[in-house]
């Protein structure tokens, strides 16, 4: 049985004005468990708190009920008071007799009656309270960033600058991501490589940053502060530590016809290759699907020419296990496949290209050394049609397109159109648009310049079909403003393909137990207030893996995620919320209902041996709640059919006792 002290606060006249506090204190004195009951002008004042401390000592109180303002105001205060008096802070309950009573009810009789009932409910609850101790878990002061694009690089740099070790895992042979493939960046038109490559170098040279390129995460265990991650370093058949990146092997490799993925297959590379000149790490990688030596043991030229002796055909995939306190997902995006959009003839004509391909075509380091030439015949295109919203905002064709707006296409299309007109003023440039969406600093001005200063012809409407005819592409579209159908004989068509999360994100989300939306973008812990955190504690989101983003947005989110990680890693220990769910394994059926509704992936299962009453041993699957991950919503308690799952601090019997007390 508890020994409960009741403290009724006057809050000056705030409560005492419409609640007879003396009567409340007196009425609650006779409640079961109550051994002391009093009232005071300001319970939250120092003398009020001292009064509580004295009463705890004098009356050997085990529980406290404060009838005062909202617990959202002073629950923490009184918990500290209890703590100072040697009580467990969770033995305190607040009856909210100010916001819910004196402030909303004018009549003192009614107010007093209700205050007594609210007090009674709090007493009933405290009678069933149990001391709670928040779990503590140590924090591994290292972070993992998954994805080495601009988002991952920025996050890693910020975390490392704060003094924490960071590992970047990048699945490609080099970091840099999509931004490395871009030519210029909107709206300022500075060259992507010029602003990105210094950051790549910074990351490579940072003493706190390790880059695992050509690597993938293969499994994730543990929880916030204590993740264990297994990283698969794919065999690149080149000893990274020795390779100097001189490129001699690349020059001599006889396998010359391997499509170059960095240039989206618009030119070729060798079987041993360095993706691009500024690659980080600048080491060669052998493509095992193209290399003759690896495929049938014939060749070995690269090993012969490598003076450093870095080539190692026997290299195997290597698994590295590391511990981290925080994980940042920065897996980025990809343009969608356009295979299913027959009307655009993407698969029928080399001269129908995506915007990313266009970036490579105009990039000085691209397949045409920056000259805008048609992929089919290398001629200079005179009429170019840009088509926006290809696969975006597509609500009826989920199997081929995306329902959302890809956000960045309007701006890069304006950029492409403008740059084309700038470099080749003789070119006619058309842009088919549905809406031009340019919210962002200097964005609309940028688009207007394309129209007004560069004479790009924007047509409000869509393209219905593109038919290659001879050297031309016949583009049939609608011009809605003039209510006519237009036909343009174009030389080149550029499709602004929708973007989607990288394909590796889904399996990664499963490993991380991080939730995703229906489009496979990672879900935020709160769409407004916690936009860079995943609902899974310790997992943070950076860049386009969370939703379509342009570079400035990506970088700011990357830094924001870093700030959250730094906040987490600067703690020595994580003190959990003790009001977490816990499962009574004797009653648990192991049915997985709770796991399915847990937004945090806090529930796992284990097979446990039970000694049955008849002395047999039975192995049963039971749920386990990780208190460091559980946030205490209690959703699982209702999903649980057997009632094995309960929520500390808001236990079933506590809530039902409150119901009883109120309905008494």
């Amino acid at each position: 049985m508890q020994r409960i002290g009741v403290f009724v606060c006057w809050c000056g006249s705030n409560i005492a004005g419409t609640v007879d506090v003396k009567q409340v204190a007196k009425a609650l004195e006779s409640e079961p468990g109550v051994v002391f009951s009093t009232d005071y002008q300001y319970m939250c004042s120092k003398s009020g708190q001292d009064m509580i401390k004295d009463a705890v000592r004098d009356h050997r109180l085990t529980g406290i009920v404060v009838c005062s303002c909202s617990p959202r105001m002073h629950e923490a205060t009184f918990r500290k008071t209890a703590s100072a008096a040697g009580l467990n802070p969770y033995m305190v309950e607040i009856a909210n007799v100010r916001e819910q009573c004196s402030w909303v009810h004018k009549d003192i009789i009614i107010g007093t009656q209700k205050a007594i009932i609210l007090g009674r409910a709090a007493v009933a609850k405290v009678n069933l309270n149990a001391p709670l101790t928040p779990g503590e878990s140590p924090v591994t002061k290292r972070a993992l960033v998954i994805g080495g694009g601009i988002a991952g690089i920025q996050t890693a740099l910020d975390i490392a600058d704060a003094g924490f070790e960071v590992d970047i895992v990048e699945k490609k042979p080099t970091i840099g991501g999509k931004m490395a493939q871009l030519d210029k960046t909107f709206p300022t038109l500075d060259c992507a490589a010029c602003i990105l490559t210094p950051k790549m170098v910074d990351a490579a040279q940072h003493e706190k940053i390790r880059i695992f390129s050509y690597s993938e995460v293969s499994s994730v265990g543990g929880f916030v502060g204590n993740f264990t991650v297994s990283i698969r370093k794919k065999a690149r058949y080149v000893n990274e530590d020795i390779c100097t990146g001189c490129g001699a092997c690349v020059d001599k490799c006889p396998m010359k016809k391997v499509p170059n993925e960095f240039n989206l297959g618009m030119d070729n590379r060798r079987a041993i290759y360095i993706p691009f000149a500024q690659a980080v790490p600048k080491v060669a990688t052998i493509d095992p699907n193209a290399c003759n030596m690896l495929k049938n043991g014939k060749c070995g030229v690269c090993a012969k020419v490598c003076t450093a002796g870095a080539i190692d055909y026997t290299q195997k995939d290597e698994y590295i296990e590391e511990k981290y306190g925080a994980i940042v997902v920065a897996t980025g995006f990809d343009p969608i496949s356009l295979d299913k959009f027959d009307e655009y003839a993407y698969n029928n004509s080399k001269d129908v290209i995506t915007s990313l391909e266009f970036e490579r075509l105009t990039n000085a380091a691209g397949p045409t050394q920056g000259k805008l030439l048609r992929p089919s015949d290398g001629k200079h295109p005179e009429k170019i049609v840009f088509v926006q919203c290809v696969g975006s905002r597509c609500s009826s064709c989920s199997e081929k397109g995306k329902e959302y707006c890809s956000k960045i296409c309007c701006m890069y299309t304006a950029k492409h159109a403008m740059l084309t007109r700038d470099k080749y003023p003789d070119t006619e440039v058309y842009v088919f648009y549905i809406d031009v969406r340019t919210p962002g600093k200097s964005f609309d001005e940028f688009y207007r310049r394309a129209v007004e200063d560069y004479g790009v012809k924007y047509i409000k409407g869509s393209v219905g079909k593109i038919v290659p005819e001879g050297e031309k592409l016949v583009v049939q579209g609608s011009d809605l403003l003039n209510n006519r159908q237009v036909v343009i004989d174009a030389d080149l068509v550029v499709l602004a393909a929708a973007i989607e999360p990288d394909k590796s994100a889904r399996p990664l989300a499963t490993m991380l137990t991080a939730s995703m939306d229906t489009n496979d973008f990672f879900t935020e812990a709160h769409p407004k207030l916690r936009p860079v955190e995943s609902p899974t504690a310790g997992v943070f989101l950076s860049g386009a893996c969370q939703g379509p983003k342009d570079i400035p947005e990506t970088v700011s989110q990357a830094s924001a995620a870093a700030a959250k990680v730094i906040g987490l890693l600067s703690k020595d220990k994580l003190v959990g919320n003790p009001c977490v769910a816990s499962s009574d394994e004797l009653m648990c059926n192991g049915c997985s209902s709770c796991e399915r509704v847990c937004p945090y992936g806090a529930i796992t299962y284990e097979d446990k041996e039970f000694r049955m009453p008849d002395r047999t041993v039975r192995v049963r699957r039971v749920a386990k709640v990780n208190p460091a991950v559980c946030q205490g919503c209690g959703c699982c308690t209702v999903a649980c059919p057997s009632g094995a799952m309960d929520l500390r601090g808001f236990k079933n019997d506590q809530i039902m006792a409150e119901v009883d007390a109120i309905c008494k």
Partner: protein, 342 residues
């Protein structure tokens, strides 16, 4: 003996109901029947067995015993028993009438159960002989004569008449109440009816079932028999058999916290439940096999051992009809009866 036309039975009911509440078996839905308080329009259910037996009238499924009321730190205790006064129950079959004897031996021996006793004393039991027993009936196994149903008044439906015969003082008083609706008669028609019943009883599929191998003193023979495992394997552990049984008398006393006090009540319990007689150390019957065995050992061995050979099964056949998995005392008796563990 007194008789009246069976089609005028409702007049009898009306007359009795003027004097005291009358309970008769009546239909509750399309298919099942229950003992219920008679009111105008209710018709006697002519089938044999109600789902629940009439033991409900003396030992209801749940009854409040006492109420504790807390006011602040004071507790006030009130006896909340309902004293219903005299009542009559009509249409009780021989097996159910016999079951009262089984219950009496439990509740009326010291310490006497005053709740039960009061209802028994207040009740006039009018029985009715079975002219069309069911294939599940086996009262004969326990020496019960379906043609001599007993109780305070025995009744037979003989031809177009219903014939009454008082067995006790309460019975005579009952016949006085219905006196002017009935006329004196000889016992010839009843004797003919009894003979008919005796013939039918012989024809029943379970008429050859005997209690050989059971009874007091057989604990050691039966307790460790291997067959219990197979017999109990389908048992779901529900309480259907116990709750429909006229002789099962186990109950639990529980407290219900009403918010403004405590209601102490008792309710039927079932030895088939895993929580039955659960104690601080846990449960003494650990598996369904043991719980299953308990129920039948109690009916066929322990009870007769302590009650002069009286079995606490009356062969009413309710459990045969109600068990969700069709496991029942007949199957147990056939499997274990007459054999020794060797």
């Amino acid at each position: 003996m007194r008789k009246c036309l069976y089609k005028d039975i409702h007049k009898i009911f009306a007359r009795v109901a003027e004097k005291m509440p009358l309970y008769i078996p009546a239909k509750t839905g399309d298919e099942k029947a229950e003992y219920k308080k008679w009111s105008e329009g209710d018709e006697l259910f002519e089938g044999l067995n109600t789902v629940k037996s009439p033991k409900d009238l003396f030992f209801p499924q749940s009854e409040d015993l006492v109420r504790f009321k807390t006011e602040g730190k004071n507790i006030e205790i009130t006896d909340v028993r309902e004293d219903k006064g005299p009542f009559a129950v009509f249409g009780v079959r021989a097996c159910d009438a016999k079951s009262f004897e089984v219950l009496d031996r439990v509740f009326l021996t010291e310490p006497r159960d005053s709740y039960y006793a009061s209802r028994r004393e207040n009740a006039t039991v009018v029985t009715l002989a079975c002219s069309r027993p069911s294939e599940t009936c086996f009262c004969k196994t326990f020496g019960i004569d379906a043609g001599e149903p007993g109780g305070d008044v025995s009744a037979w439906i003989a031809g177009d008449d219903i014939v009454f015969s008082a067995n006790t003082e309460k019975g005579s008083a009952f016949l006085d109440i219905i006196g002017e609706l009935t006329e004196e008669c000889s016992c010839d028609a009843v004797d003919r009816e009894k003979e008919k019943i005796a013939v039918i009883m012989e024809r029943l599929p379970l008429s050859d079932l005997t209690t050989d191998g059971f009874g007091g003193g057989k604990t050691e023979d039966l307790f460790n028999r291997a067959e219990w495992a197979e017999l109990s394997e389908a048992c779901l552990g529900c309480g259907t058999c116990t709750f429909v049984c006229p002789t099962c008398q186990c109950y639990d006393i529980k407290d219900f916290k009403s918010g403004n006090g405590v209601v102490r009540y008792r309710c039927w319990d079932s030895c088939m439940y895993s929580e039955f007689t659960k104690m601080a150390h846990g449960n003494n019957r650990l598996t369904q096999k043991e719980r299953f065995r308990q129920r039948f050992m109690h009916k066929l061995v322990y009870y007769p051992e302590n009650n002069d050979g009286l079995y606490s099964c009356v062969g009413c056949g309710r459990c045969l009809k109600s068990c969700p998995v069709s496991m029942n005392i007949v199957k147990v008796m056939k499997k274990l009866g007459g054999k020794k563990n060797d």
